[in-house]
């Protein structure tokens, strides 16, 4: 009971954290400091509640009557909610501290206070969402989060691109909410109540497939599964960076939380549930990373990677659901542990990447990676943070990405060795995951190489300066956590076991612990050895570079007459091979200059990869519908006597309809 009370206090504190700021003057710093302090307090309280729930799970929930049709104020912190609460707390606190320097009140008098108000409400919405045990409370938390995220997104609403991407986000969020409304309505028909404890009964009723499909659409829209990801790139690219970190790290995980809570209650889900999740995950993963490679905007690229990582998480979840329908506990343990750990990992390294991208944007003022270059010399610490994030997101050893992908790999390989028909889904998904990993390496090598290495391509970089301590400390903390999870995997295993147990529920057979299933000790040993080796290599580099005389020559360029930094490989040239290979799905657009005059005049080349679902399918469809509707406006033509004819017409129509009855 105590956990719930602490958490409710945390929700309230987070919710009001931005309000005192409203009363202060436009450029007074006390408002933002107070807001960050309150958010930190809320984060600490929430973490305390989560950790104590993980340690000693209290079965009873805090239930109060809530006088709303179908509503009940039921709040319960169990291991599953605790996993998500910790992540929300960590990222919102670090994001708030980052925001102190990244979005100071004096530089943004117009929207600084608005940002902090809604930063608090989005955190409160998420915290409420993950512990709500009643449909109406869940929807209240869900929509508070969705609307506050919209206002956060459109902070700089004087830019048209921000307004349009904000509006796409709002439409997707609203469509998602409508799907959830339908799901809860069908849920209530199946179980007679709107309390989420009645999930098992709902998932045993004949309506369970309808509930699953509606939930998949509603939660998929928020999580950003491939065909439903349309709002994600625009939203994350145009939001302030610490908001993008919060959204990409945590907000889209609320969709995953929904799917997790849905599948938690089902003892023997139909086979096609698990397979749909695996296939959806694989498609989202591969297409997500393929689209990411084609991007030239730093934050859009990271946003597409969120789609890819959500794909991996959903693949893990699919394996777990498949395990439950086939009655294979090791699949359940591996798949779900992989999914939950990747939820945490992605929150950490995606948050780190977005914060470092924010510091680059803060320093250079542009997100266009083809205009940057050679930033490592001017911003060494941000560069290092981005590198750690990049290595982690590609799932390369010694960092945390590898551990969760290892679980998913083992899960997929174990499904592949079954001899009933499901092996194909698992079998094809494993090489797809390998393709995702390799393409991620290609993509992040491109980004790090083009942005941080080589020579500066445009003067934008010359005024770049290293970020201040308030921005570097959150990044350092995130990087340290990534390394800690990478090397200390066995320490994390018990928490994952608790989560798996909570997910399966007490009724199921005792599950094998992760230690037996996955090689945690050898992996962490190797990661430690690798880490030591890298540190030694670092020491050797420092000694070697100090020993050799300072270089005074540039790179040998075959004696070219007048080399310029713009001759370096840019993002589009680096990704050209892969974009051509996947051209049939990416449909890249490139503006190639036509050289038709004798003497060469200056020409410009521009290429970009439009989002296939949004730019090729939704926008044309919407414009056609819009044209039909504006044509239909003719029936309001302003002629009074025709209006009267409408009234006469409807009376006669109803009379005839009555006669036909």
């Amino acid at each position: 009971m105590m956990n719930e009370v602490i958490l409710i206090v945390a929700i309230v504190v987070a919710g009001v954290s931005g309000l005192p700021g409203l009363l202060t003057l436009r450029d007074d710093r006390s408002g933002e400091r107070l807001a960050t302090g309150l958010i930190t307090l809320a984060g600490v309280l929430a973490s305390v509640a989560a950790v104590s729930a993980l340690v000693a799970e209290s079965p009873d929930e805090l239930g109060r009557a809530w006088h709303v049709p179908g509503g009940r104020f039921g709040v319960h912190v169990d291991a599953l909610s605790a996993m998500f609460i910790l992540q929300i707390a960590v990222l919102s606190v670090l994001g708030a501290w980052f925001g102190l320097e990244y979005w100071p009140q004096r530089d943004h008098p117009q929207n600084g206070r608005k940002l902090r108000v809604f930063y608090g409400t989005v955190t409160a919405g998420m915290l409420l969402l993950v512990v709500a045990r009643n449909g109406v409370l869940f929807l209240a938390g869900w929509e508070t989060m969705a609307l506050s995220a919209f206002f956060l997104l459109s902070t700089e609403d004087d830019k048209p691109i921000v307004r349009s991407s904000g509006f796409f986000y709002l439409l997707a969020a609203h469509a998602g909410t409508l799907c959830l409304l339908a799901m809860f309505a069908v849920f209530e028909v199946a179980t007679g109540t709107l309390d989420l404890d009645a999930w098992p009964a709902a998932l045993a009723s004949p309506l369970r497939d309808a509930i699953f499909v509606l939930a998949l659409c509603g939660f998929g829209l928020k999580a950003g599964l491939m065909p439903l990801h349309v709002w994600l790139p625009g939203a994350h690219a145009n939001a302030p960076s610490h908001v993008s970190a919060l959204m990409s790290g945590v907000l889209i995980k609320m969709g995953i939380y929904g799917l997790v809570r849905l599948t938690a209650a089902c003892d023997a889900p139909p086979l096609w549930w698990g397979e749909t999740l695996i296939v959806a995950g694989a498609v989202s993963g591969v297409l997500g990373v393929a689209f990411a490679i084609g991007q030239h905007d730093l934050k859009r690229l990271l946003a597409y990677h969120s789609v890819e990582n959500i794909g991996i998480i959903v693949m893990g979840l699919g394996v777990a659901v498949l395990g439950r329908s086939l009655g294979r506990p090791e699949l359940v343990a591996l798949g779900f542990a992989g999914a939950m750990l990747h939820v945490w990992n992605h929150g950490l390294f995606k948050g780190l990447l977005f914060l470092s991208a924010g510091s680059v944007l803060h320093a250079t003022g542009t997100r266009e990676i083809d205009r940057l270059g050679g930033l490592l010399r001017r911003m060494p610490l941000t560069g290092l943070a981005f590198l750690v994030g990049a290595v982690a997101i590609c799932g390369l050893p010694p960092l945390n990405g590898l551990i969760s992908e290892l679980f998913v790999y083992l899960g997929l390989f174990r499904t592949a060795t079954l001899n009933d028909p499901t092996w194909l889904a698992g079998g094809l998904a494993a090489p797809a995951l390998a393709l995702i990993g390799a393409l991620a390496v290609a993509c992040f090598v491109k980004v790090f190489g083009v942005v941080f290495l080589g020579q500066p391509r445009t003067p934008d970089v010359s005024l770049a300066h290293e970020a201040g301590p308030l921005m570097l400390v959150p990044m350092a903390l995130l990087a340290a956590t990534c390394v800690f999870i990478g090397v200390g995997a066995p320490l994390v295993a018990p928490v994952l076991d608790a989560a798996v147990a909570a997910w399966v529920g007490t009724a199921a057979a005792p599950l094998p612990t992760l230690g037996e299933l996955a090689p945690l000790l050898p992996v962490s040993a190797i990661s430690a050895v690798l880490l030591v080796a890298i540190l030694l290599a670092g020491a050797w580099i420092v000694r070697a570079s100090r020993a050799t005389p300072p270089p005074e020559l540039g790179t040998w360029d075959c004696g070219y007459a007048s080399p310029s930094p713009r001759m370096q490989y840019t993002a589009s040239s680096f990704a050209d091979l892969i974009v051509d290979l996947t051209g049939w799905v990416l449909r890249p657009l490139s503006h190639v200059p036509r050289l038709d005059r004798v003497f060469p005049s200056d020409a410009s080349f521009h290429s970009h990869v439009p989002d296939i679902v949004l730019d090729k399918m939704l926008i044309p469809a919407f414009s056609i519908i819009r044209r039909i509707m504006t044509w239909l406006h003719l029936i309001q033509h302003g002629k009074l006597h025709i209006y009267l004819l409408y009234i006469l017409g409807i009376v006669i129509a109803l009379l005839f309809w009555w006669r036909s009855m």
């Binding site: 309001q636 002629k639 009074l640 006597h641 025709i642 009267l644 004819l645």
Partner: protein, 213 residues
Amino acid sequence: MPELVDPILVAVLVLNFRLLGTSRLRTAINASAMQGALIGLLAVVMHGALEPRSTFIGIVAFIAKGLIIPILLNKAMSEAAIRREIEPYISFVTSLVLGAVATAAAVLFADRLPLAPEHVGSLLVPTSLATVLTGFLLMVTRRKAITQVVGYLVLENGIFIMGLCLHDAMPSLVEVGVLLDLVVAIFVIGIVINHINRDFGSLDIARLDTLKE
């Protein structure tokens, strides 16, 4: 004197066609006034002179529909200084034919409805429906604002005829309320008409379609 009911109703039907045929505003207004007066008379005749309530209603209706409203309309017309209904949306002949079709439809529809014993033979319900449809026709096909108001009046007359059958359902207070509303409505419409005339320069409905999507 119930036997007088049917001739009056026939007269009302004839007036309907008179309204549909005429192109001059003054004739239209007078015809609708006459129709109103006839209906007032009908109220008195229907339940016998000795019935106090219905005669009172009849007299009030006679005064309201026969005198007050035509005066208001004529005043509005004179201010607008127009005499003749310009070419309506459909020619007068077609509107007469449509009027006939409407009356036939009204009669057909009326005899499908079971009537109370005292009204079985009478023309009350068909005439009421026919007059309502004629009112609709006038409002839909004419282009002049005042003709549309006349159409509205004819519509009200039709409904009033229907009201007469329900002698005791409508207490006299409510009946007077209905008539009062009608008079005030025409009064307000009169004011609106001369404002239209002042702002739009003419009462042609075709000008009145600036508000559209």
